[in-house]
Subunit: 133 residues, 3 copies
């Protein structure tokens, strides 16, 4: 299963928990795990409480450590300006695996599945959801 998402970049955080839940329920798998994977080298999948304050905190700490508007060697290759995006994506990684129990995602109360798009401009991202049993 897969779905597409329109993103704005600049570490935009998008809650995809409901989309993944639907995929798991459609699969009718009772016990196993679900892989959530974004097919991009400048985006990532992780878990975050989907709350505006912590989203702002995340953007600030990432900007402190890996600022967007800085010269990166990568910019000399293609002329784009998304060196910071590649670095953040490599650290966060594009994959997340979540247990399935009794046919449902086994998440903690505050755990939401999020896609983070680190790129410098709007994109369409493809998310692959693969249920394993």
């Amino acid at each position: 299963m897969k779905f597409a998402i329109e993103t704005q970049g600049h570490s935009q955080v998008i809650n995809i928990t409901e989309r993944v839940k639907e995929c798991v329920e459609n699969s009718q798998v009772q016990s196993g795990a679900v892989l959530v994977f974004v097919a991009s080298s400048t985006a990532a999948i992780t878990i975050l409480e989907y709350e505006s304050g912590i989203i702002k905190d995340l953007k600030e700490v990432l900007e402190k450590v890996i600022p967007e508007n800085q010269e990166y060697h990568h910019h000399q290759k293609w002329g784009d300006k998304n060196g910071a995006a590649h670095l953040k994506a490599a650290i966060f990684k594009p994959d997340l695996l979540i247990p399935i129990e009794n046919g449902k995602l086994r998440l903690g109360t505050w755990q939401q599945i999020v896609l983070i798009d680190f790129d410098e401009k709007p994109r369409q991202r493809e998310v692959i959801v693969q249920v394993l049993s």
Copy 2:
């Protein structure tokens, strides 16, 4: 399979390798992989040599980059003070997948499976262990 762990927070590192090993042996799966997942947005699972020096080093580098005692936007939401914990957990992520070979965890010599609790107070954490074949 699952188990609960009492934690102290402040990036406490807990070696859960033996617990995961037991789950793998009980499953009697000979070849596959095991997902270790903590159902919390302020804790994570990763691999670390379980040695007091490197644990201290890890706490120091995390404190340098994402200090606990700092004002985070997240603190305005619920009144708790664990913004740093959410950020660290989002970077480390709650999932780890390890190969199973000949019925055993396929780890390198110095690889231990650890739970890190980044929260600011003692908690009980639930670890889900899902064997995939």
Copy 3:
């Protein structure tokens, strides 16, 4: 399946995409996922565009946050000097899970699977590739 790789350390980035592709094709699995795992506590697996500029950028940002030539508590344990390597490996983690679709790795255009060796000297690394269906 598994393969060995000779590495140089110091955050050397090695493109292992073709090796993983071969393993997936040999497995003849049409739909599922493949776990790529390095059996080491000072190396990691992630996704990166394999391009010399971004590789240089990655080394620079890692050196800024977790410098190699610094005193780490870990150095007092064994006398080796790879504290920074352990810390980087714990953050990046040794596992990566990629979807398999129609018998092939389901990667984005710029996504390459890389092994990063953070250690301070040449090593031989073992990469385990486990196909799940």
